[in-house]
């Protein structure tokens, strides 16, 4: 029941905020398009609730399919654009492949011997929604294509439903202890791959929503690591320390579901506000928006810092629980658990650092400095509704700080409460210090005092331009080069021409594509297309041959049926 509630809250919160945001976001959209958006939007929310409250497996699958279909309608909203249609297509493929795998999982689940087969089918089925690599391909395609409120709902509330499904399908049967280790290690491996891969690919993205989408892959990875560690700890019979690890990492994962929902929802709404006011999501063409859209900018910054897992915001607390579980696991002495703990800790630390860098870049390139295009320079603050929606989600995430402590106190039997209280105290101290610094600044430079008006980063140049500042690409270039072996960015250098004394403009363009699409899925689909091309031999076009083929099939099947 509590898990149901935990997964309902994001749907309700993000759904309501996104709806409020959408009323302004869609302003100016053709009148006859609006009913289409709202119909699909409400259908998506309803089917998500149906997924959570489905009484049986069949109804769960039906709701799951409905959820995929209705959200595909949302992705396809701006269907006049080719990229949107392509993204919808990929998303639909992912949805249906996932549903297929889930049906298989349901079949396997009926026999207790096939537990692992069922689990792996479910990993594929739910993984296609959650975005485990390499099943994450649809996220960076569909999220930028969908209208912002839709991506907020899909990323914040819908993706984590995959975890709900996994819990729902497998936690009741997970008393099958020998399989828990395999299942847990699988989740940890997928989580590590998702977290590290997701944040690595988020880093160099110039499209803000693509960056957020990859960051979702990362956060889902973090949750998977937590759940995996919990499963591994649960599979060992080791007394109170093991159950502590189990409870801590499990709670941490669920808390992170909540945190990610609120913060990522708010971030997508923020990205939508930016798109609406400037017409672009290209961070290399934005900049200086903090002065022009102060509310959106501040809220985006706060939410991004929270999601990067920086204290004192709540994103930190969820990860802290998993960290604590990891440290306990390392101390536990069971070799498997020590290894799992080390892996989780290292991956968490690594992704935490990179996430901070990625959001630093997103905030810096979008909001700080000087605008790099006319669209960004002319931007004005959004209507109130849009930033109120983000503010509501942010306040919700702030409420999650005592909320986390409450959850741990109530459901985790107080395990880890002390750690959390310490963390909350440190966080509180940080907030107080910040407040004190702000107060000091006010004291030293009271309101009404003359503020010098000058462009940002006026470092003594005579006429500073935005071209002197770091662009988003330039900011992440060292890190992107460091991980070039994994990212394989495509660089186009446009060299200058003419005499070196009077050169023309030179430029460097870097694109980082999703490797899973080009490296895994495209070859796979090409292979199948080739293989099935051979079946064209059968498609002769002759009616008689078709009938003969049917006849042969029927006879062979009959003989096989009677022979067995």
């Amino acid at each position: 029941m509590q898990t149901k509630l935990l997964f309902t809250l994001p749907i309700a919160a993000v759904g309501a905020a996104a709806a409020l945001h959408a009323t302004a976001y869609l302003h100016g959209e053709a009148k006859n398009h609006l009913p289409r958006f709202w119909a699909f939007f409400l259908a998506t929310l309803a089917s998500m609730l149906a997924v959570v409250y489905a009484p049986g497996k069949i109804s769960f699958l039906l709701a799951w399919e409905a959820m995929g279909l209705s959200s595909a309608g949302l992705v396809a909203f701006e269907n006049t654009e080719k990229t949107v249609r392509r993204a919808t297509w990929i998303y639909l493929l992912a949805c249906h492949a996932g549903a297929c795998a889930l049906m298989l999982a349901g079949v396997f689940l009926n026999s207790p011997d096939a537990f692992l087969a069922a689990f792996f089918c479910a990993i594929v089925g739910f993984g296609l929604k959650i975005g485990f690599p390499p099943f994450h391909v649809w996220l960076p395609e569909a999220h930028p294509a969908a209208p912002a409120p839709a991506s907020a709902v899909m990323s914040g509330a819908m993706i984590p439903l995959g975890f709900y499904g996994l819990l729902n399908f497998f936690w009741p049967v997970s008393t099958v202890v020998p399989y828990n280790t395999t299942a847990g290690l699988t989740l940890i491996a997928l989580g590590v791959a998702g977290a590290i891969g997701g944040i690595l690919f988020a880093l160099p993205q110039v499209n803000l929503k693509k960056l957020l989408a990859f960051s979702s892959v990362e956060n889902m990875g973090v949750i998977a690591m937590g759940l995996g560690l919990a499963l591994v700890a649960n599979s060992r019979d080791g007394g109170s320390l093991f159950s502590e690890i189990y409870v801590l990492s499990f709670t941490g994962a669920l808390v992170h579901v909540m945190n990610h929902a609120l913060l990522k929802g708010a971030l997508f709404l923020g990205a939508g506000s930016i798109l609406r006011q400037t017409g672009t999501l290209d961070q290399d063409r934005l900049g200086g928006l903090m002065k022009r859209m102060p509310f959106t900018g501040t809220l985006f910054t706060l939410n991004a810092l929270g999601l990067a897992g920086l204290p004192p915001l709540n994103g930190f607390l969820g990860e802290l629980l998993i960290y604590t579980a990891g440290f306990l696991a390392v101390r536990s002495g069971s070799p498997l658990l020590v290894a799992a703990g080390f892996t989780v800790l290292a991956a968490l630390a690594f992704t935490g650092g990179l996430a901070a860098a990625a959001y630093c870049k997103a905030i810096g390139a979008t909001f700080l400095g000087e605008p790099r295009s006319k669209a960004a320079a002319d931007a004005i603050e959004t209507p109130k509704r849009m930033w109120i929606a983000q503010l509501a989600l942010f306040l919700g995430s702030v409420a999650m700080i005592p909320g986390t402590i409450f959850i741990v106190h109530k459901f985790a039997n107080g395990i880890g409460e002390a750690t959390l209280l310490t963390a909350a105290t440190i966080g509180g101290a940080l907030v107080l210090m910040t407040a004190a610094l702000v107060g000091l600044r006010r004291f030293l430079c009271p309101r009404g005092a003359v503020k010098p008006q000058c462009p940002t980063w006026d470092c003594g140049y005579h006429e500073p331009t935005a071209r002197m500042a770091y662009t988003a690409t330039a900011f992440t270039q060292p890190l992107a080069d460091l991980f070039a072996f994994a990212l394989r960015p495509r660089k186009h250098l446009i060299p200058f021409k003419g005499h070196p004394a009077a050169p023309t403009d030179a430029a460097l363009v870097t694109e980082t594509d999703d490797r899973a699409l080009a490296g895994f899925w495209r070859p796979l689909f090409t292979f199948f297309a080739r293989a099935f091309q051979r079946a064209h031999l059968l498609q002769s076009g002759s009616l008689h041959l078709y009938i003969l083929l049917i006849l042969i099939t029927v006879v062979v099947l009959l003989v096989a049926a009677f022979a067995s």
Binding site: Q539, G541, S542, L543, H544, L551
Partner: protein
């Protein structure tokens, strides 16, 4: 009366082989009509007169309807369609008539082998019933594959259905006759629709060669697309 039934079944077998070797449409229609009468007669001949007494109204009714529909109504309809389409002879069959007869023989021998292998002797009224049923179904399906004229294909379908009927009455299913009536209704409607279809095909292509229908598929387009 079992011996009479077996003579009838043997004749049934022969009609199949003749059907496979005939090229004249009228003769083929007549042969299928004869099969229809036999299908009507069969449940009465297979009836266990000595133990069960005279068959009830249901059996007579089904026998009569079967014979009337398959032996009279449908052949008349097909003959009408053939006349309207001015089709008298199956020219250029995909498989030659002699070879067709050989294949029909092969089907018959295979059917006897399968019938032996099936081991469902408990309810079978006659040893011959199952092989004959399989032969008839096989020949019918073979005719569908091997002939060009739409009418011959409908005849193949009817022969196939006759095989099912023989199978049904041969193993004396409990509600076999009722099921039989249901199937009969299906077949009647189907042949009726096919009769209309033949007329339309003829009107559109001025021929009832189903080969012409191949031109309707998108396969040719697809091949062309690939070769580009």
């Amino acid at each position: 009366m079992t011996s009479t039934a077996e003579i009838l079944l043997a004749l049934f077998l022969l009609t199949n082989i003749v059907l496979a070797g005939t090229g004249r449409l009228r003769q083929a229609i007549r042969l299928v009509a004869v099969q229809g009468w036999m299908v009507g007669l069969l449940p009465i001949l297979l009836w266990n007169w000595t133990d069960a007494g005279a068959p009830g109204f249901r059996v007579w009714a089904v026998a009569f309807v079967n014979g009337a529909v398959k032996g009279v109504a449908l052949p008349i309809l097909l003959r009408y369609a053939a006349d309207r389409a001015k089709a008298n002879f199956e020219l250029e069959p995909l498989v030659g008539f002699r070879l067709s007869q050989v294949i029909a023989f092969a089907i018959a021998s295979a059917s006897f082998a399968i019938g032996k292998a099936l081991h469902i002797h408990e309810t079978v009224a006659s040893e011959l019933a199952i092989p004959v049923a399989f032969t008839t179904m096989g020949t019918g399906l073979f005719l569908i594959c091997a002939r060009r004229k739409a009418i011959t294909q409908v005849l193949g379908f009817l022969a196939f259905e006759n095989g099912i009927a023989v199978f049904g009455s041969g193993i004396l299913l409990e509600y076999g006759l009722v099921v039989e009536l249901g199937i009969l209704l299906d077949v009647f409607v189907l042949v009726f629709v096919l009769g209309i279809a033949i007329y339309q095909i003829n009107r559109t292509f001025s021929s009832i060669d189903t080969d012409k229908l191949n031109a309707l598929g998108d396969v040719h387009l697809m091949h062309r697309h690939q070769s580009n």
